[in-house]
Symmetry: C2
Subunit: 392 residues, 2 copies
């Protein structure tokens, strides 16, 4: 396989938008192409992510219309991917695999979502379609419920009083909102404090409002090229060092809600391909859909032992200028926002900018290796991409 | 790229089923794996197609649950593809590309759909979501309408009286239902005659009931392996000679409804890769969603000149034992049925069985090279796969 690089990456502001999915994707996609010093006609394929365009806008088959909005050639195929919240990461992984294989030299990948447009009464039911319909969502399971159960199990398994665990989880929210306050693209750009988190309304006991990420509108896109060509296009390609993707759909196959089996399989693939381990990571954008989710992810990565990541944020180890590794400098899903089908490409965009030293006040000094982590459904899909600013 | 083969292929009976999408896919998938002399644990990835599981069953993120139904390993990622009616062909193409690239040795691809479960009042509106929502479906365009317009344009452009053209289109329906009468997996297994077609109720002038394919429930799956391994598994691998995929989403970019631009780009890719031309084809499974669609496709392939395929069926040139090339021996979408996200994998299954000489009474004698053609949306996506029973 050839070495593969990201040459351009861009995202819209995340938040509440009146634009359509296609308008948002065109904004991010055309900017990613321009930042690559390329034209739409140079794209050889589109790997496009969207989850709920049919429910949002009555739009299925959206990849072919995104292709038209970007003005791509007819011979460049557009393909839609859907892996729940991991959608855009999975789309980008397939783009990178086919560039690595030599099928294509330059392709565009990304995703878009209008997640604020679902209508409140039906929103949770709509999003819960990403859990198993026959056995889970029909029984009333929603995503806040799954992560609430994981929180109780974590407290019980490791003997941490729930009240203490909740305070440490609040630390994750405070950290990510602090990071988001420095990100002009973030949905929420206000700092919060632990008392605000602990005073929030109850969503699914013990998860309160600020334990939960918002749903957002937005789009993000990246241009993927073979490394040889990348160096001719721009001065600072960001290379893909390793990737992983794994599946473990229904909760009845999960065994232990505090350990996401698909993540353990995915990160193992990515570490092996990259030839690195958890100690080599400088910056991580991970799937903090709920505060507990950040804690579980850091343990799956091996950055912390199991049962040991719960107080990482309150100890300041995962904040900007933290002692260990900077986690979610963009603000994460918690503060940057979560337009489902776009999230993975926005995580990649953040890591690309961090590894280029372009992140301004939230720059992780000297960052060389970054990890992207996206979780789909109630633990069913995980996709990881490790990026570096150093060529092989 | 390594040579790639189909080692196992299977489909459920198409028609009206009370099974879920996952149950149908498990039936086809496990049979395809068994026919490959493999076990589920041998699969390294799942390339899964489904279009409307969220509308049908409240099920998004279906690939990860199909993965569980088949009992695949956690490390084998499951990815959902959606390209409207071309969904399963696109999923299989990506599977084959990644096996060809050496990323995987053995993967399973396919799709499933419960298309009879949409509810009649909303069914046409639901399926029309695959056309452009902002400019097309909102203006009342549905798929029968698009192909009705194409029929009028074809008659006008080539100076064929509409009455004559309709009789020849009826010949396509009669031929495909005749083929379907020999296919125990077909949705419709009864022969019809031209008077029945011309006496059918009007759907979208000039298309009558028998000019239109049904929507069906069903699933189909294929196991894709590298050619070296394929020969160790089974005695009769079917090789992928060439593939194509192209996009031209909205109708406003179509220019001429009688010439599907995405198909012309896709088939050119496939012919080039296979090193063959239209005269080399022995058998074709093409996207006859409407009778006119078969005529247009044969012209895009170069099997007939533009304006010359309209009477191919009535002249007997495309029927079993026809003089030119056998088209849709399975019965096609017209008679075999059209479970949207499964259709492409069922077309591949038919060609695989034809090239193995396993098609019984509808066997195309001496068939060596077969073409699969699937169209997504109102002309927005086309994917082609050329198969052969001869190794390189």
């Amino acid at each position: 396989m050839r070495q593969v690089a990201i040459v351009g990456a861009a995202m819209t502001k995340f938040g509440v938008s009146e634009k359509t999915n296609l308008e948002m994707f065109a904004e991010a996609g055309l900017e990613a192409i321009a930042r690559s010093n390329l034209e739409p006609r140079d794209m050889e394929a589109l790997f496009f992510g969207n989850c709920l365009g049919d429910f949002e806008e009555g739009q299925l088959h959206m990849a072919s219309f995104a292709h038209a909005e970007l003005g791509l050639p007819v011979s460049a195929p557009a393909t839609r991917f859907e892996s729940a919240c991991a959608t855009a990461t999975v789309a980008t992984r397939h783009a990178a695999l086919l560039v690595g294989a030599g099928v294509y030299d330059v392709v565009i990948a990304g995703g878009t979502e209008r997640a604020t447009k679902m209508g409140t009464p039906l929103a949770t039911r709509t999003f819960a379609m990403a859990s198993q319909a026959q056995h889970e969502s029909s029984a009333g399971i929603t995503f806040p419920g799954v992560f609430a159960m994981a929180t109780h199990l974590y407290a019980h398994k490791y003997g941490i009083p729930l009240k203490d665990l909740k305070r440490h989880m609040a630390g994750v929210a405070v950290k990510n909102h602090y990071h988001g306050s420095m990100n002009p693209k973030a949905h929420f750009q206000k700092k919060i404090d632990i008392d605000m988190v602990l005073g929030g309304m109850m969503v699914a006991d013990p998860l309160q409002l600020f334990d939960c990420c918002p749903f957002s509108d937005g789009a993000a896109a990246v241009v993927v090229a073979n490394a040889g060509k990348a160096k001719d296009l721009i001065k600072n390609p960001i290379y893909i060092a390793g990737m992983g993707q794994a599946s473990n759909g229904p909760l009845y196959l999960q065994k232990d809600l505090t350990r996401v089996r698909a993540r353990e399989a995915s990160i193992a693939q990515a570490y092996k391909e990259a030839g690195i381990g958890p100690d080599d990571l400088d910056v991580i954008e991970l799937h903090d859909c709920f505060t507990i989710a950040e804690i579980l992810a850091l343990e799956s990565f091996g950055v912390y032992d199991f049962g040991k990541a719960y107080d990482a944020a309150t100890k300041g180890e995962t904040a900007l200028n933290g002692a260990r590794v900077v986690v979610n400098p963009s603000g994460g899903l918690k503060a940057k926002g979560h337009p489902i089908g776009a999230t993975g490409a926005a995580q990649i965009t953040e890591i690309v900018e961090q590894l280029r030293g372009e992140s301004g006040p939230r720059q992780v000094e000297g960052a060389c290796i970054g990890l992207v982590d996206t979780l789909g459904g109630d633990l069913g899909t995980v996709c990881n991409i490790i990026l570096t600013n150093r060529a092989n």
